[in-house]
């Protein structure tokens, strides 16, 4: 018996334990482990650091370690590339910190109707924003969401090749690599991008679009930031060949850009982290897949559905709709694996979208576009910097440093000394772009911030 009383572990008083053991009819706790063979029991204490039993000590210790982080609150950051710094309304943090949402898991319509309604509202708001019919519980991240989307396209069409943009997020390729399921998507064919605009090369697309192709993936904006303005043509070309259009979008852009459903996307996917979720070192990811209603049996995650009450007076919510799709029921015959997803972030996104409304989404989209173009215009005036992609962009754009004789790594190291996190280094993943970085601007940046960046870049590349 331990001498220590652990605040998270009740039933530690010796009299309580003795009474419980007595009721069970054993002499000691060890007797309860008798079915673990002796040879498999650990006979020594785990080798772990001495505990910090007092919460006060624990908090000081962890804060001490975290103090070695320098967050984007403390520096001026222009990093994006899949995780985005936006203003998170106080209401969002307040709502998802409510203990009932925070600590719920597997309730039912009668115990957990509230958080199920919140999740249903996430599904509904997201589908309104995307102009798609159906979505469900989120995916782990946009990489997983895209993989799921491509697999749905493969199952719907019975085809095993997908076309992906040459400028695709390189982490997406690493994720696709991890799943190598022979009978689904077996071949990923890259479609060239126009080197001047960064847009998909339509001729190359048409060359590669064969009757074997299940779907064409478009990132909009692309990983390199440009708005894929040809997406309707791409969709028409895909559809003409019996393939699906899969649009991976940044939902933050959809107050100003057309929704995937507006331009004929069959499947939309992406990451809703920009919608009210803190970056959390990448843990804020909130992948989503939204589809046409006719593909619903291919959706692999749980979905909350609304149902009337038997008394006809109201409605409630279940979350095991169409269960034969799911891991939990179908095991190896499920549409894909699933598990504990990012539903707290889904509630955050629902709160965010309900605060923003249509006007807020329009305003933020316009603000971001204006600010990012302003930043780009300042950098265009900076000697030695190049802006290689000419097409319009949303929140991100490529800056090339070849004219400065510096590498991105050198530039970013110098910026760091000035308290700035420069754009994500593209040089390893996109050698064709030379020494280039992906800069990201959002509503959190002021005009002063953007001038500071331009001046700093002028200084460090001089």
């Amino acid at each position: 018996m331990s001498e220590v009383v652990y605040p998270y572990i009740p039933n530690s008083a010796p009299e309580t334990r003795a009474a419980m053991l007595n009721a069970i009819g054993v002499r000691g706790v060890d007797d309860l482990f008798k079915d673990i063979p002796d040879r498999l029991l650990l006979k020594r204490p785990l080798k772990l650091p001495a505990p910090l039993l007092c919460e006060c000590d624990l908090e000081r210790h962890v804060r001490g370690i975290l103090a070695r982080n320098v967050s984007c609150d403390d520096r001026l950051s222009f990093l994006g590339a899949g995780s985005y710094q936006h203003y998170v309304p106080a209401v969002v943090d307040s709502m998802i910190a409510r203990g009932e949402f925070l600590t719920a898991y597997d309730g039912n319509a009668y115990s957990d109707g509230g958080r199920l309604q919140a999740t249903f509202e996430y599904q509904s708001l997201l589908c309104d924003l995307l102009n798609m019919d159906v979505t469900g519980f989120p995916s782990a991240c946009s990489l997983h969401a895209t993989n799921t989307a491509l697999r749905i396209a493969s199952r719907v069409t019975g085809r095993h090749e997908v076309l992906v943009p040459a400028t695709m997020n390189p982490r997406r390729a690493q994720h696709l690599h991890a799943y190598r399921r022979a009978e689904e998507v077996a071949t990923f064919t890259s479609v060239d991008a126009d080197s001047e605009t960064g847009l998909m090369d339509m001729e190359d697309l048409r060359r590669k679009l064969t009757p074997e192709v299940a779907g064409v993936l478009v990132e909009n904006p692309t990983y390199l930031g440009v708005i894929e303005s040809q997406v309707r043509e791409i969709g028409e070309a895909a559809h003409a060949m019996g393939a699906l259009l899969i649009a991976c979008v940044n939902p933050m852009s959809l107050g100003v850009l057309a929704s995937p459903g507006d331009y004929g996307a069959d499947i939309a996917c992406g990451d809703a982290q920009p919608l009210g979720v803190h970056m959390n070192y990448g843990g804020g990811a909130l992948g989503f897949v939204a589809i046409r209603a006719e593909y619903v049996m291919e959706f692999p995650n749980l979905m909350v559905n609304i149902a009337p009450t038997l008394d006809g007076e109201g409605f409630g919510f279940d979350f095991f709709a169409l269960p034969e799709r799911l891991t939990y029921i179908a095991r190896e015959n499920a549409k894909e694996y699933t598990g504990t997803m990012a539903c707290l972030w889904a509630i955050a996104a629902a709160v965010y979208l309900s605060l923003m409304g249509p006007q807020g989404m329009r305003d933020i989209g316009e603000t971001i576009i204006r600010k990012s173009h302003y930043a780009k215009s300042l950098l265009a005036d900076t000697p030695g910097l190049g802006l290689p992609l000419a097409a319009p962009h949303f929140n991100e754009f490529v800056v090339n440093f070849d004219g400065t004789g510096r590498t991105v790594a050198e530039v970013n190291a110098s910026l760091l000394e000035k308290g700035i996190y420069g754009g994500a280094d593209l040089s390893a993943d996109f050698p064709g772009l030379g020494q280039s970085a992906l800069y990201c601007v959002s509503e959190v940046h002021s005009a002063d911030d953007l001038r500071l960046l331009a001046n700093a870049l002028r200084d460090v590349t001089r």
């Binding site: 103090a67 719920a104 597997d106 499920a334 302003y374």
Partner: protein
């Protein structure tokens, strides 16, 4: 249990809450967005040329319009209609390990040094979180008895899928991938154990239990072959039994050239007592949102620690956290890696909480977790087995169940027609979360799988048993009370016609409104 055990006169908040879309008032705003400064507006007032006409939005998105107080009240009311672990004991949620989530860990995870960290920041500005990840890695290695860890998987299923991809990579490196195309699992292993391997292309063979509830060794010997890539097995399985032959199972599969993975979702009853590595396993995972007390968040975000032996480390997902004795880094130069299963390093804010939890408890505390969990579970069993009709599955011998127990309520159903599912609904009337029945397929008739954790008090255990006792009495005496339940819930009984008619499944309000408007126009 004493006669004083009191059942609550509970009633859920029942706000009869509208859908957000029905609360919309034209022109309301919940928050305003910064307007660019004048110099920016002067330079880019017109968006012409900035947004290509071909993809410009031609009408606003169809979102509701609400002022801020109404948004706060709406979601606050929804939270009140949710039975999280902060408000009740969660004893019913077998296989989920829903324990108390320490509030101090929420405070730490809410610091800007966590929330405002961009995953691509220079590593020298992320030394704090990398240190947490690296130190937590060491904890997991010691608890598992293994050599390397990835926190990238967002949940157990993703760890299993990653492991299956690693199994494939391992056999590829040995030139046997083509031949080894089968994965073995057991019916009482969590369903992600078959679905993860299937997602990377494996044929799955499932073993059924013998009459003692263990996977049949003879059946295993019959199916292992040079086609066996691996076994994926949960231990203790969801019925609560620790498999005493687990190392023999490992030996049989190793003998055939396969790898051995164990899903440690049920670690809570063995943490600090028995280790997967000591039983010979090559790989395992822990769910940090279960055993390591991080919040379930209404269904995530979670995190799985994928632990492997040294000879498999090179296949782990990208990147791995490194420490050179001076500073922490991220290693992407891993040519044999399977790639990624989740973006960036995974859910670092979950690892942070788990780190704090382990640091608070230490080795002795973790053993206390297992000991108290098993004590609580066996005490609850003692109370429940005293209720007529509540029985152990797989025999009434003296074997001890560890973290949870799959009971069968078959006798009650036979006698009264009241099913386990009916009781799982009725128990919510007492202010207790629904109880878990079983994963599919249901191997135990009328199953009931409670899982008390170390964070449940004696009083909570007795309250739960008292609710079961009360319900069983009702089943025999006033069964309509159960059949018409819930009486005190968030809502009254739902019309579940959609189960028979899938076309009645509506997962967005636009589907729902379309259907209800159509129905109204018909009538």
């Amino acid at each position: 249990m004493t006669d004083q055990t009191r059942l609550r006169r509970f009633h859920s908040a029942c706000w009869d809450e509208q859908l957000l879309t029905d609360m919309s008032v034209d022109g309301e705003r919940g928050i305003l967005v910064p307007t660019p400064e004048r110099e920016i507006m002067d330079a880019f007032h017109s968006l012409d040329g900035l947004v290509p006409a071909s993809v410009a939005r031609d009408r606003p998105p169809n979102l509701p319009e609400l002022a801020q107080p109404q948004v706060v009240r709406h979601f606050s009311r929804l939270s009140q209609m949710t039975m999280g672990g902060d408000v009740q004991s969660d004893i019913g949620q077998g296989t989920c390990t829903t324990k108390y989530n320490p509030k101090v860990n929420e405070r730490l995870a809410g610091l800007p040094q966590m929330t405002e960290m961009h995953p691509l920041q220079p590593v020298e500005t992320a030394q704090g979180i990398l240190e947490i990840l690296h130190r937590a890695r060491g904890f997991m290695m010691e608890i598992a008895g293994m050599d390397e860890v990835s926190f990238q998987p967002g949940h157990g299923g993703q760890a299993v899928m990653a492991a299956a991809a690693m199994v494939k990579a391992y056999h590829e490196a040995r030139g046997e991938a083509h031949q080894r195309d089968q994965v073995i699992t057991t019916i009482h292993s969590h369903p992600c154990n078959p679905s993860g391997p299937a997602a990377v292309g494996y044929e799955v063979i499932t073993l059924w239990p013998d009459d003692r509830g263990y996977p049949d060794l003879a059946a295993l010997e019959a199916v292992v072959s040079d086609r066996t890539a691996a076994i994926f097995i949960t231990n203790p399985e969801d019925v609560g039994l620790y498999n005493p032959q687990i190392d023999q199972i490992v030996d049989i599969v190793h003998g055939a050239g396969g790898l051995c993975y164990t899903d440690q979702a049920n670690l809570n009853g063995v943490i600090g007592r028995a280790r997967a590595g000591d039983a010979g396993f090559d790989m395992c995972h822990f769910n940090l949102h279960k055993t390591f007390a991080t919040p379930h968040g209404s269904h995530g975000p979670g995190c799985a620690a994928l632990c492997v032996s040294d000879y498999l480390a090179r296949y782990l997902p990208l990147p791995i956290v490194t420490f050179d004795g001076h500073s922490y880094g991220l290693d992407f130069d891993r040519p044999d890696s399977i790639g990624r299963v989740k973006d960036f390093v995974g859910n670092a804010m979950v690892v942070l909480r788990a780190y704090a939890w382990v640091m608070n408890l230490g080795a002795e505390g973790l053993k206390q977790v297992a000991d108290t969990t098993v004590l609580n579970n066996n005490y609850l069993a003692e109370l429940l087995l005293g209720i007529p009709g509540v029985e152990y599955s797989y025999g009434t011998d003296d074997r001890r169940r560890l973290d949870q127990i799959r009971f069968t309520l078959e006798k009650i159903t036979r006698d009264t027609g009241i099913t386990a599912a009916d009781l799982s609904t009725r128990i919510t009337d007492f202010g207790l979360q629904k109880f878990w029945l079983s994963h599919h397929p249901v191997t135990v008739p009328e199953p009931c799988t409670p899982e008390p954790t170390e964070t449940n008090s004696l009083q909570e255990l007795e309250e739960w048993a008292a609710a079961m006792r009360q319900m069983v009495e009702e089943a025999y005496e006033t069964p309509d009370v159960i059949r018409t339940a819930p009486h005190n819930g968030v809502t009254t009984r739902l019309d579940r016609s959609y189960l028979e008619r899938p076309e009645l499944t509506y997962v967005t309000w636009r589907q729902w409104k379309h259907a209800t408007e159509k129905a109204a126009s018909v009538s």
